[in-house]
Symmetry: D2
Subunit: 343 residues, 4 copies
Amino acid sequence: MIQVGIVGGTGYTGVELLRLLAMHPGVKVAVVTSRAEKGLRVDAVYPNLRGFNGLCFVAPIIENLTACDVVFFATPNATAMHMAKDLLAAGIKIVDLSADFRLKDVSVWQQWYGATHVCPELLEQAVYGLPETNREAIKKASLIANPGCYPTATQLGFLPLIKSNVIDTSMLISDAKSGVSGAGRSASVVGLMSESGESFKAYGVPGHRHLPEISQELEHVSATPVSLTFTPHLVPMIRGIHATLYAPLKDSSVDLQDLFETFYADEPFVDVLPAGAHPDTGDVRGTNRCQIAVHQPQDGGVVTVLSVIDNLVKGASGQAIHNMNIMFGLDELSGLNHVGLYP
Amino acid sequence: MIQVGIVGGTGYTGVELLRLLAMHPGVKVAVVTSRAEKGLRVDAVYPNLRGFNGLCFVAPIIENLTACDVVFFATPNATAMHMAKDLLAAGIKIVDLSADFRLKDVSVWQQWYGATHVCPELLEQAVYGLPETNREAIKKASLIANPGCYPTATQLGFLPLIKSNVIDTSMLISDAKSGVSGAGRSASVVGLMSESGESFKAYGVPGHRHLPEISQELEHVSATPVSLTFTPHLVPMIRGIHATLYAPLKDSSVDLQDLFETFYADEPFVDVLPAGAHPDTGDVRGTNRCQIAVHQPQDGGVVTVLSVIDNLVKGASGQAIHNMNIMFGLDELSGLNHVGLYP
Amino acid sequence: MIQVGIVGGTGYTGVELLRLLAMHPGVKVAVVTSRAEKGLRVDAVYPNLRGFNGLCFVAPIIENLTACDVVFFATPNATAMHMAKDLLAAGIKIVDLSADFRLKDVSVWQQWYGATHVCPELLEQAVYGLPETNREAIKKASLIANPGCYPTATQLGFLPLIKSNVIDTSMLISDAKSGVSGAGRSASVVGLMSESGESFKAYGVPGHRHLPEISQELEHVSATPVSLTFTPHLVPMIRGIHATLYAPLKDSSVDLQDLFETFYADEPFVDVLPAGAHPDTGDVRGTNRCQIAVHQPQDGGVVTVLSVIDNLVKGASGQAIHNMNIMFGLDELSGLNHVGLYP
Amino acid sequence: MIQVGIVGGTGYTGVELLRLLAMHPGVKVAVVTSRAEKGLRVDAVYPNLRGFNGLCFVAPIIENLTACDVVFFATPNATAMHMAKDLLAAGIKIVDLSADFRLKDVSVWQQWYGATHVCPELLEQAVYGLPETNREAIKKASLIANPGCYPTATQLGFLPLIKSNVIDTSMLISDAKSGVSGAGRSASVVGLMSESGESFKAYGVPGHRHLPEISQELEHVSATPVSLTFTPHLVPMIRGIHATLYAPLKDSSVDLQDLFETFYADEPFVDVLPAGAHPDTGDVRGTNRCQIAVHQPQDGGVVTVLSVIDNLVKGASGQAIHNMNIMFGLDELSGLNHVGLYP
């Protein structure tokens, strides 16, 4: 059994790791840390875990994690970077669900995250944990930068188009919509149901931290420079991301359906829907699956891709476990083969 | 007092007309028709109207409407066209909330609405009832084609940009999101809360009836051909539309905030928010107001417009009453000067 | 025009006062205070008020309120009591939406609210502002203790039964359900949509502050001692309270429908629904109306009353304005005659 | 592998059986019937099942079911009774999720369900499938009447109190609240999100079909006659039931917490929460678990029990699988050991 530690066990990605790992046959959650809830039983804070997890939260210090094979960071940004070096030195693998190791250019990271990076030397070895593009590197990685939720949904939609060079990458648009759990489990006014229920709004239109992450990764695979307009929106639901992607087609006669089906034929967690379909976030609720449909409205010059994930699973904790499965040579589906909770 | 008739009083736009007109000082609702509910008290079907409306539903026949000054059609498409000629001949003004008179080209109408138009000769005289563009024509009109909900939100966002010729109209995108009341009050599986709650999805991506309506109207005011990609989505909330609009800027140095503020300076129902704002559908709930913000993300080559309305008010019944106010020379704000129901 | 001051203008009852008073023909909101938002424009915080309120928040000090005819306190508990005496001395009437003056017994107040009452001498003169029971006293009052939301819905349901002495008051049950806006507009984890959406739970079962308030008022009108079990629940919606009330009938042959209709025949804001009806919180959304239905299931020995209100209107700000209307001799419906926002 | 047939695979209990059985290690779903969708792929109707179920719907006739070891009926009432005799004669076990075999008195059944029962002779042998009371009988049963959702939540809350004879059973109250999925997946107006979202209401107050079912079962275990008032309500959420139960205590000094913990000590799917807790439907979402808390407000004479389940799992399909596990001698937790989907 792989011994797992979770640092930051009281946010939504933390409790989602706990939910998924409780049903994973190959791992044992050995340690869960929380600065705020230290000493409390995990299942006293999260009654959904009663009977599945008898641990108590402990302090987030290296000493509590040394028996782990792998540590997940489900922490706010600029936290994992303070513990990463010591853990790696102790031979412990890391999957960081925060943004600390996602951007290769430290100055860009510092600009968007407003902090000084304490271990820029690790950025080089960190592997961006999108299995659909980096599977081989993930197998050998010690430090995984688990992708953001919007970047996951957006990249999976654009990748087949960019890699096959059928779109003009100078005017990409990702109009993305997220459920409120993406904002995390911190006390706030804006997150109150009275504020975010029965309402819809965009946010971060002038600039959002996921923009440089998406751009960096798309640039890696693109033959031409990428210019992306990214607009996140808040949907009055708890889980789910729907990215609606637009790009000008270079050649409007390409068989887009075939392109997508071929591209993802062997991917266990990307499901290309039949032609004409409209994916629904509700069908992937609680699962590590991305469902995608590709359209060419009016047979015109614009391709529209619809890409849905559960932001807490494929957009965070499920993808983190997928990365762990790959790192440790487990069946990729292990602990992740759930049917979406519909309705 | 203006005598009002409402044909089709049992759908959401019908009951919204009843709600708004009950608080309108200058009109009296004299007749409400419903084929299905004929004979029933209106407030037995809609308990929110108890004490405000003592009428019973009557059959939708001309004889029941002859004492009216104006008749609103809150009916399914292809209904108003069967009664319009007789009503006009009787000197009764018409505001049609359905799509029967919105498209000038009858062949386009027949293609998208799948029916034969029975009075194409009226299309010429019908005035498209978007007050912000057609106020003078509305004053003299007898037959108003009240705009669709998505077209209202989309046009109000694009108009200042197109009229001032600052965008490339060959790649317009309207990524629009609507609350579920837009689908109407008919029994359906897809509209069940179990289906549309806690979920988000696009629909009609290959083609939606509001596309030709928007294109027709934008073409009217554009110096260059308009090519629009329009994607409607369903949001798990009841009321509200949020249109997120994208266009390439011809000149990225134009003062977009000033452009919008100037354009709408005298409009009572369009509210341009301060620079940097993100409008929220919840702030216009129950009102005839459109709140708009304009952004130029990263000072780049794409303009992003955020436009929100209440689909049942500015997107339907409120705009219909606004048109009536203009047609009858009433104060435009009459009966429509409500504060948004927040939270 | 009556000059109004609002102390605590940034909570939900404050902004609801602003919404309703903006549409009230007989008053002018002259002052809005907020310690936290001092100096900010009111409509910068609440964009739904743009065009209706050009004021800026000022500090909550007596000097800012001396020109007012009436001051509403939309503050947390234990705030109004610090300013009440000075305002009354200045001849300014007070409507306190908090709990400071609701309980006549200061020791009970101090037990439930965990504070020392600084002006217990005012408790005697404070009038409990439930117009349906205290209209005459309200007319002459200077200090109104505006009822709580649950107490309003519960009392209006029990009053006809208790005053006519047809139930056994020793086992009353109020199983009450509230939308989340009842918890106010303060940053919290429990109020996050991720926590309170798609979920239903009771809270405060061992004891809730509204219990002594309800008991006190029902005891006033009851011939026999009142023993009440009160269970509040949180509903995943924003506005609305539904109280389901149970009591053993002393005589199961009484005509309950007639009893309720007669009791409320002259009340402008209590609407007894026809026999067999089930009131829906959605039908009173945004209004000052209480809709009630009374049932005797299986013609048995228990009466079940269903009572719905909008917690922010009849349960708070609307009732406060109703009290103001009565105090100042205005038409009771003034500014409150809205149709429920359905759907 | 147990061969399973599902009759009525297109309602919510049907698709929930498919979801849960897809993750059950000991069974194979061999047949899924649907009159309306015959010939269609199951995963074309339910995209959440893509990759898990390659079957097509077939007609609901005996010939299609003869290879099954067990058949689940996820059908409307008055359907299973037409096929039950033939299936049993063929040696096939039946778990009926509808109400056809729940009531022992055929005249009561016919009164509440408005139909003539075609096989009253089977009522005697049908076992009411509440494992917590009937485990031994279920082991030997061929025909299981799977309990209703409200009855499950209500009985589990009252059973410890009634069996230990600590309450007065002459005034029991079950104030129960259900998510909208309980109304099923049939086109309707009342189920539209525009109707049931942002609203709360009771229904069926004069009488609901689950009342005789609950009464029958509680009478079985009660030393004294049971008189129950049952009020169902509709909550604007998809899944979950919260039953709030009230009863007068005969002796207010009994240790209720200990009573409940002892009573359910060995039950795998009933989780008694610590003293003072308030269960949340969100914590059991997607699971077969009932979480219960017991309170004695103000140490008074009334006991309040809070009982939550997922109506589609413990209230329907999960309990049906639990019954199957018991009938076939499988581990009771098999296929049902999920962690609640929080948030």
